[in-house]
């Protein structure tokens, strides 16, 4: 058994390693090579050029502010939403659970543009309303600023944080809080001293993923940071490669290497921090009972707060998209604008064969990719949690490799890699690339689930025999299903709107949504872009709803058995 386990570990290391190391290795090679590809004679000139620029260090300061700020916002918001929707009797919780996932389904580019329409200082819709309301002579908010970037990126990263924390909260052992009350602590004290510390592994996991994602993020720095003159590493890299026609991705990779190293250091630190607490056994079989906290008189006000946050931060940008898809060109809402609304952009998109092909391909990649990705993640997460060897640590580290690399560079790494294989320019290449890059989205929720199941498996293997099957069905399945659902949702909606890889690897026959959206953006066709974006949100929402429904069905079945 022990032998079989380590064989599996090494096999997975080989598979995951091949998928993630190869593109990164190509980029590393390129950063040390003369010329424009991965293969040239050795040089350090690219590093000298990249790190010799004194402007870089100012950029690093802004980057730290951006990354920490947005990850904090994402984590805190997600914590708030997840706590209310999993632990309390707040009304409409299913609705809020879905709403909090919406930003994940919107292409980042679109989400950033909607916010610019809402909060730009000249005629942002919200600014105009506030100006009227309070008779101000200046727009109260300027989205083109570091706080603006933090707001939008924070919202975009919130669903990831939510999906990582919600399962942990849902399976929280309520007696830990009850005992705190019995021993004299009030609600807030219990939250601060018991609930949050016990959830620390999940909170830290969410924060770390947020940091890694916002480090690699490009859409928000580009759409909001560039007009706001707040450069961060991602836009710095872009400026470096996009000035001129012979874009040198080797040089970009040289800067990207420090992002990669930062991400890896963060992940190592995170693993250290949670090494002890990962052993938390937060679910104990017989005592487990998903108790809900009665909010009492706070129910109404809290509902209002949650509704306001969801409305302003999530629903409003989506409404802006819908609006943009209906008006003929970019217009401030007015009677005139509403009079001119039509389905023209929708018709154009629905009659465009490339858009239709991209809808089909993205749907396929979302469903097939997420399913395969979850299967691979199941094995990897199991090995990481159960086989506590160096190999397991290595495996987890590997899974983050390509994930941590800036999006605009990693695609080229995959191109340099896939062009060496027969898979170049096929849908399979996209599928493999997606899974390799976004593996942590699958592994994280599943690893949390396995940590919780750990002891039950041990117990059952001690009792052995028929008990194991029962344990599997009664205990493991109900605990694992939320993890699987989270992982599938994360991966599927990520794949439906994947851009970094697709923009490099997509060819006729492998068109995907995000690339089509990018082309609309290149041409300034915001109406069509919004219409296609809405379709994309619809697809993702459908996938999420189906996955959640299937998940709760399975849990119900397991509970009956």
């Amino acid at each position: 058994m022990g032998n079989g386990r380590s064989t599996l570990a090494w096999l997975l290391i080989a598979v995951v390693g091949l998928l993630t190391i190869c593109p990164v290795a190509m980029l590393a090679l390129g950063s040390f090579s003369t010329g424009l590809t991965a293969f040239g004679s050795f040089t350090l000139a690219k590093y000298a050029a990249a790190y010799g620029d004194p402007a870089l260090y100012g950029v690093v300061a802004d980057t730290v502010g951006f990354v920490v700020g947005s990850s904090l916002l994402a984590t805190v918001l997600a914590l708030f939403f997840a706590y209310l929707s999993t632990r309390t009797d707040i009304p409409l919780k299913r609705l809020f659970a879905i709403v909090s996932l919406v930003p994940m389904m919107i292409p980042h580019l679109l989400f950033a543009v909607s916010w610019a329409l809402l909060l730009n200082p000249s005629n942002g819709m919200l600014n105009l309303v506030l100006k009227d309301l309070f008779a101000l002579d200046h727009a109260p908010f300027n989205i083109y600023s570091l706080p603006g970037m933090i707001l939008v990126e924070g919202l975009l990263d919130m669903p990831i944080a939510y999906l990582i924390m919600a399962p942990a909260m849902a399976s929280f052992d309520v007696s830990l809080e009850e005992s705190s009350h019995v021993f004299g602590a009030g609600n807030l004290q219990t939250l601060a001293r018991i609930t949050l510390p016990v959830l620390r592994p999940a909170i830290l996991a969410a924060f770390t993923l947020g940091v890694v994602r916002s480090l690699a993020s490009f859409a928000v720095p580009s759409v909001i940071g560039m007009p706001g003159q707040v450069p961060v590493l991602a836009t710095y890299i872009y400026q470096m490669i996009a000035t001129g026609f012979a874009t040198d991705y080797g040089k970009a990779a040289a800067v990207g290497m420090s992002v990669l190293v930062t991400s890896i250091v963060l992940i190592v630190v995170y693993r250290r921090l949670t090494a002890a607490s990962e052993k938390f056994v937060t679910v104990s079989g017989r005592g487990y009972r998903p108790a809900q906290i009665a909010l009492g008189r706070a129910r109404g006000p809290l509902l209002a707060v949650v509704a306001a946050i969801s409305l302003v931060m999530i629903v409003l940008p989506v409404l802006v998209l819908l609006y943009t898809s209906l008006v003929p060109y970019a217009m401030v809402p007015s009677r005139h604008a509403f009079a001119m609304m039509s389905l023209r952009h929708w018709r154009e998109v629905l009659q465009d064969p490339v858009s239709l092909a991209s809808l089909e391909n993205s749907l396929f990649l979302g469903v097939a990719g997420a399913t395969l990705g979850v299967v691979l993640s199941l094995f990897v997460a199991w090995v990481i949690v159960r086989v506590k060897t160096r190999a397991a640590g290595l495996l987890e580290g590997l899974s983050y490799l390509s994930f941590s690399f800036p999006g605009i560079v990693i695609g080229v790494g995959f191109m340099w890699f896939f062009v060496q294989t027969p898979l170049y320019a096929t849908l399979t290449a996209l599928l493999i690339g997606y899974i390799a890059t976004y593996l942590p989205y699958g592994i994280r929720p599943l690893a949390s689930a396995f940590i919780q199941i750990h002891t039950h498996l041990e117990e059952s293997s001690r009792v052995c025999g028929a008990g194991t099957l029962v344990t599997l069905r009664r205990v493991v399945a109900p605990l694992l299903v939320p993890g699987i659902v989270s992982a599938w949702i994360l991966m599927a909606s990520m794949f439906v709107r994947e851009l970094s890889l697709s923009v490099v690897l997509s060819r006729p026959g492998t068109e995907v949504l995000a690339v089509q959206i990018l082309h609309f953006a290149d041409d300034g066709l915001w109406g069509q872009l919004s219409a296609l974006g809405m379709l994309m949100i619809a697809i993702s929402t459908t996938l999420v709803v189906i996955a959640a429904a299937v998940g709760s069905r399975f849990r119900a079945l397991a509970a009956q058995g």
Binding site: D173, S175, L176, E178, S179, S180, H181, V182, F183, G184, A185, G186, Q189, R193, I194, P197, V198, R200, A276, S277, K279, F280, V281, T282, S284, R286, G287
Partner: protein
């Protein structure tokens, strides 16, 4: 400190209709006793405990602890859990995994902002009581099940609460450890002399630990009394059956004489414990296996003699369990392992009238 409960009702919203978990419970728990709520799962015992501690809100009734009303529908009083000053040991121990043993045990004092030195001393005393001296710095996750249980106990004691509540605290221990811990707990609570409310579904635990037992069924308290009273003189068939292994035989009351009640049943005419029931009414005769002893020498009287045939013999460790067929009844009996009795033997035995318990049919 005594606990008084009056007319307590708790309903849960079930599928389509409400389920009454507590159906008008009246109960007084005297100060300084170990009081056990015993019953099968779903009888309402845990709900009652959680109402006392404040983790559940009843729908009607009143709870007083030491004279102070902590919850009353009528008076609109609801003292929150954290203000009731109780101690509790949870079924899962609820040891906080992110804290050391010291912080776990010291928590009740820390949240009350007691001085550091006082906390330190109190924790040391509590740990000494549960024989965990020197474990202060140990992480809670590095404790065995038994150690966790003791940390939970130390934590429940540290603030010297008015009442300690136990929610099936031994059910997560393996059989051997459970027995040891039960004995420890018994002597421990005896020396402490505080009020303890103990919830369990394990009759052995209840009998061994308690000063007083309340047996619950369907959200009501069926019977209450000392362990001996509940065991030997139960008034209800349900209690008699639940508290120990019992042979239940339908019987008809024939008369009362000499401090005994005579009944007629499948075993013949028997003298039983005195019960005030009308002659001619139907009752249930309850016979504990340990008092059916076909292996003992025949006493020589002619009253209360029963004859039967050994149907089966099962070795269960200290004793054999025998099934003895008497007329249409099959009686479970205890047989000494050294007794020379074999399957198919015809046996006769005497039933002591004081062990022939009559309960309502």
């Amino acid at each position: 400190m005594d606990i008084a409960i009056e007319g307590l009702v708790k309903e849960y919203a079930g599928e389509g209709r409400g389920i009454r978990a507590l159906d008008g419970v009246d109960l007084t728990i005297p100060a300084g006793t170990i009081f056990t709520l015993l019953g099968p799962s779903g009888c309402g015992k845990t709900t009652l405990l959680r109402c006392i501690v404040g983790l559940e809100t009843p729908d009607a009734g009143e709870i007083r602890i030491g004279g102070e009303v902590v919850w009353s529908k009528r008076r609109g009083v609801a003292v929150p859990t954290e203000k009731r000053g109780l101690g509790m040991v949870f079924q899962t121990y609820a040891i906080w995994p992110h804290m050391s043993v010291f912080d776990n045990v010291g928590y009740p004092l820390q949240v009350r902002r007691r001085p550091r030195a006082e906390v330190r001393d109190a924790v040391a005393r509590a740990l000494a009581r549960v024989r965990l001296e020197g474990f202060e710095a140990r992480l809670a996750t590095r404790l065995s099940g038994g150690q966790q249980q003791r940390v939970a106990l130390a934590r429940a004691l540290v603030a010297e609460p008015r009442v300690i509540l136990f929610d099936e605290p031994l059910s997560n221990l393996d059989a051997k450890l459970r027995e040891e811990t039960r004995k420890e707990l018994k002597s421990f609570l005896g020396t402490l002399g505080i009020t303890a409310v103990y919830v369990t579904h394990d009759r052995v635990e209840a009998l061994a630990l308690s000063d007083s037992i309340a047996v619950m069924q369907g959200g009501r308290i069926v019977e209450q009394g000392s362990p001996q009273k509940i065991y030997f003189e139960a008034g209800h068939r349900f209690v008699a059956d639940f508290i120990g292994r019992a042979n239940l035989v339908e019987a008809t009351v024939r008369g009362h004489a000499g401090g005994r009640t005579q009944v007629e049943c499948a075993l013949g005419t028997l003298d039983c414990q005195r019960r005030d029931v009308a002659v001619g009414s139907t009752v249930t005769l309850c016979l504990r296996p340990e008092f059916i002893r076909p292996d003992l020498p025949f006493a020589g009287t002619d009253r209360n003699v029963v004859r039967g045939e050994v149907d089966s013999l099962t070795f269960v460790g200290e004793v054999f369990e025998a099934e003895i067929r008497v007329a249409t009844e099959r009686l479970l009996a205890r047989v000494d392992p050294e007794a020379r009795i074999a399957q198919g033997d015809r046996v006769s035995f005497t039933l002591a009238p004081e062990h022939c318990l009559l309960v309502a049919a």
